[in-house]
Amino acid sequence: MTEPSPYYRPLTPAVYHILLALTDGEKHGYAIMKDVEVQTDGRFKMGPGTLYGSIKRMLAASLIEEADERPDPELDDERRRYYRLTGLGESAVSAESERLAQALTVARQKRALTFA
């Protein structure tokens, strides 16, 4: 019997939103941060400390990897580092989204949402 992936456990909000930001493709740090702000209507704003602390741990856990090539080297600052999802990262964000969707269904059934 195969062991379930350790990333089928709930992810922290920062890690989940970063993974979600990278589902569109490779992004650099500031683009990830802006994407997270858009995802959450500005309610979740990360600082550079949280962002790069999370990126460091996600790299160590092989959820993301650093991209070798810039999407458009002519238009972009060459010092920028781009990140992209790994296979494990894709399955982690998918599992977490399913978990949240399930929780949302239960919350709706129990009328726990304010607009229900």
């Binding site: 740090g29 550079p48 400390g49 962002l51 790069y52 602390g53």
Partner: protein, 411 residues
């Protein structure tokens, strides 16, 4: 133009603040963090000029403080690090210093004890309380238990036992309103005393055994040593029963059960079981945990009945070696074999000297039969059984961990 100057000033200040992060983190991510921060400054200035920048700083500073602390305590090579026992590599010097702190305080307290001052208990117990605070803080922030927290945790257990003993024997300060009310409650309703002294540790112990056994962390040897340990506890607690047996009186007197003995021995067992939850992370170094418990209790040194000052001197040297040298030796041992060797020698020295001291007491008192033999060595037997239980538990867990580490990673 004006906003550019504010951005440049903010940039410079932020680049200085990056020194709060561990060096390796700063070198790896510092330029990227500064770049992101500059982008944030530009965006903030576009929205609200100077006040936009101020609002950004209010948001950035807590983020920087929390993340810098998190990086400092979680990085094994950072100046505050030492959370992970890096395999086959010596720990950072600050880790060793932290392991040494209880030993140094203990050593200073010994000098006071030799000169007849009675601040030994206070010093050691208070030290345990304060030393556990950074350990708990780090656990709360990172959900990791620092390796140097093992010794203070052992001392804390000893403190808790000391509190239980004082509670049972009305030794707590009666001028304190809270204690006096608590003691009134305890002695007014004996069932409360039993709950506090017996049911608390017992239920914790059952939970820990269940948790450990559920994870298949109990080898056959571990079960055997636990059986022996519990048997010895029962016999020691029923010391009156033992005396009755010696005089062929088989009647059972439940009121003779010594609750303080139960508290004392179950405290030691709890500590060993707690070590099983930490052994997968710290390996055999968890032996520091029961060792931290043994350090202040193993010998009593100078007493008014023992005028031989040189005996106290020898005891002081021995305690200094155990408290100060042993933790450094165990923690700084580079290989697994060396750690095992250092732990075994230290533990054997503790047990050996304790047995020798009690043997001296036994020889100097008149012969009273096998009950006297048992009562003289009951503490030593329990210590030996407890340490053997700890070693068998930790050994099987470390072995299991090693096996799983050697297995190929599944993609």
């Amino acid at each position: 133009m004006k906003s550019d100057r504010w951005i440049e000033l903010s940039r410079r200040f932020y680049s200085r603040l990056l020194y709060l992060y561990p060096k390796e983190h700063r070198l790896e991510y510092g330029p990227s963090m500064l770049q992101v921060f500059t982008n944030q400054c530009r965006s903030a200035c576009q929205k609200g000029e100077f006040w936009g920048l101020i609002a950004l700083w209010f948001r950035i500073l807590p983020d920087l403080g929390i993340s810098a602390l998190q990086e400092q305590v979680s990085s094994p090579r950072s100046s505050w690090g030492m959370l992970e026992a890096v395999p086959n590599a010596p720990l950072p010097w600050k880790a060793v210093a932290m392991v040494l702190v209880p030993g140094l305080i203990f050593f200073i307290a010994q000098i006071g004890q030799l000169s007849g001052q009675d601040w030994f208990d206070l010093m050691v117990y208070r030290a345990a309380y304060f030393l556990i605070i950074p350990v708990i803080l780090i656990w709360a922030i990172t959900r990791k238990f620092p390796i140097w927290g093992l010794v203070p945790l052992g001392l804390l257990f000893n403190t808790v036992w000391g509190f239980g003993y004082r509670l049972q024997n009305s030794m707590l300060d009666s001028s304190n309103q809270i204690w006096s009310r608590l003691m009134y409650l305890v002695y007014q309703y004996p069932i409360v005393e039993k709950i506090v002294i017996v049911a608390g540790p017992l239920s914790l112990m059952i939970i820990l055994v269940w948790l450990s056994a559920r994870r298949r962390q109990f080898s056959t040897w571990a079960w055997a040593w636990m059986g022996i340990y519990l048997l010895l506890v029962v016999i020691t607690m029923r010391y009156a029963f033992l005396i009755n047996l010696a005089s062929f009186n088989w009647k059972f007197y439940p009121e003779n059960i010594s609750a303080s003995d139960f508290y004392y021995y179950s405290g030691f067992l709890l500590l060993i079981l707690l070590g099983t939850l930490l052994a997968s992370r710290h390996g055999r170094l968890v032996i520091l945990l029961p060792l931290g418990y043994l350090l202040p209790t193993v010998l009593y040194g100078h007493t008014t009945e023992t005028p031989l000052f040189w005996i106290s001197g020898i005891v002081l040297v021995y305690r200094t070696l155990i408290a100060v040298v042993a933790p450094v030796w165990i923690v700084r041992s580079a290989s697994d074999k060396a750690i095992k060797q250092a732990s075994t020698i230290v533990v054997l020295a503790v047990i050996g000297i304790q047995v020798a001291m009690h043997a001296g007491e036994f020889v100097s008192t008149p012969w009273q039969g096998w009950v006297q033999i048992y009562s003289s060595f009951s503490t030593d037997l329990l210590t030996i059984a407890g340490i053997a239980l700890a070693l068998s538990l930790y050994k099987s867990i470390v072995h299991e961990q090693l096996q799983s580490d050697l297995q190929p990673q599944k993609s």
